[in-house]
Amino acid sequence: MVEWTDFERATIQDIFSKIDYDTVGPASLARCLVVYPWCQRYFGNFGNLYNAAAISANPMVAKHGTTILHGLDRAVKNMDDIKNTYAELSVLHSEKLHVDPDNFKLLTDCLTIVVAGQMGKAFTGEVQAAFQKFLAVVVSSLGMQYH
């Protein structure tokens, strides 16, 4: 079981209550597909991913980005049992979607950078550490059912 300090709990709840899911989600996924283009292999039916502008304007990317961020909600609401919260999603990503779990970290790194850009100076080292710890637990849980 993961131990969370009061600061970490408060920070995670605070961040997720403040961000606009319809902006941050799409921006994070789009950024991931631009910065790590090999991730596009999982989005063959998403249409035009030809360049950064096309990716950022792609409505399917935007929709999926929002979906992913709402998926993180589950962990935000169940911080004391993230592993079981994502058991089913882990199986989905492994058995059906066949996503290399290394990609989860690439996406969460992009999410970190998008949130940092939004929060500016308020995204201190301590806030970053808490946010990354949370995302690391999510990433680990999503990879747990792979075999």
């Binding site: 789009a30 950024r31 631009v34 910065v35 950064a52 990716i55 950022s56 790194d109 970190t112 950078i113 998008v114 940092a116 850009g117 939004q118 929060m119 500016g120 100076k121 995204f123 080292g125 301590e126 970053q128 550490a129 990354q132």
Partner: protein, 141 residues
């Protein structure tokens, strides 16, 4: 692989950051120490508390080296030759840490540049920092 346009973008961005090298550098270092505490082991001999003289001067040094390399990326091996030797024989920082620091530099840039840190700029700089780190570790073995 860096396109000519990306090389230009990278050079421009780092030139603009040179006046605030101390702020960016020390911010990135501090983020790294807090987020990845194992990295502090390389600085046991320095005072790395926030706004300390060591942290500021060290951060400045690192960012200025990155900015210098950005001026002509094709010459990285030449520009970084002395730093290669320093890191290989004296500092001997495990190269995994270069990745951690690069990530924190990107976060610092995001906080500093806000919307100007576009996905394209992010991609270009991430690639540059990876190349920089690879060259830095070349003399390790």
């Amino acid at each position: 692989m860096l396109s000519p346009r990306e090389r230009k973008l990278i050079a421009e961005i780092w030139e603009r950051l040179t006046p605030v090298a101390e702020d960016i550098g020390s911010d990135a270092l501090l983020r790294m120490f807090v987020t990845f505490p194992g990295t502090k082991t390389y600085f046991a001999h320095l005072d790395i508390s926030p706004r300390s003289a060591h942290l500021l001067s060290h951060g400045k040094k690192i960012v200025l080296a990155i900015a210098e390399g950005a001026k002509d990326i094709s010459q990285l091996t030449v520009t970084l030759a002395p730093l290669q030797t320093l890191h290989a024989y004296q500092l001997r920082i495990d190269p995994t840490n270069f990745k951690l620091f690069s990530h924190c530099v990107l976060v610092s840039l995001a906080c500093h540049m806000r919307e100007d840190f576009t996905p394209a700029a992010h991609a270009a700089i991430d690639k540059y920092l990876s190349a920089f780190a690879a060259v830095l570790a070349e003399k390790y073995r």
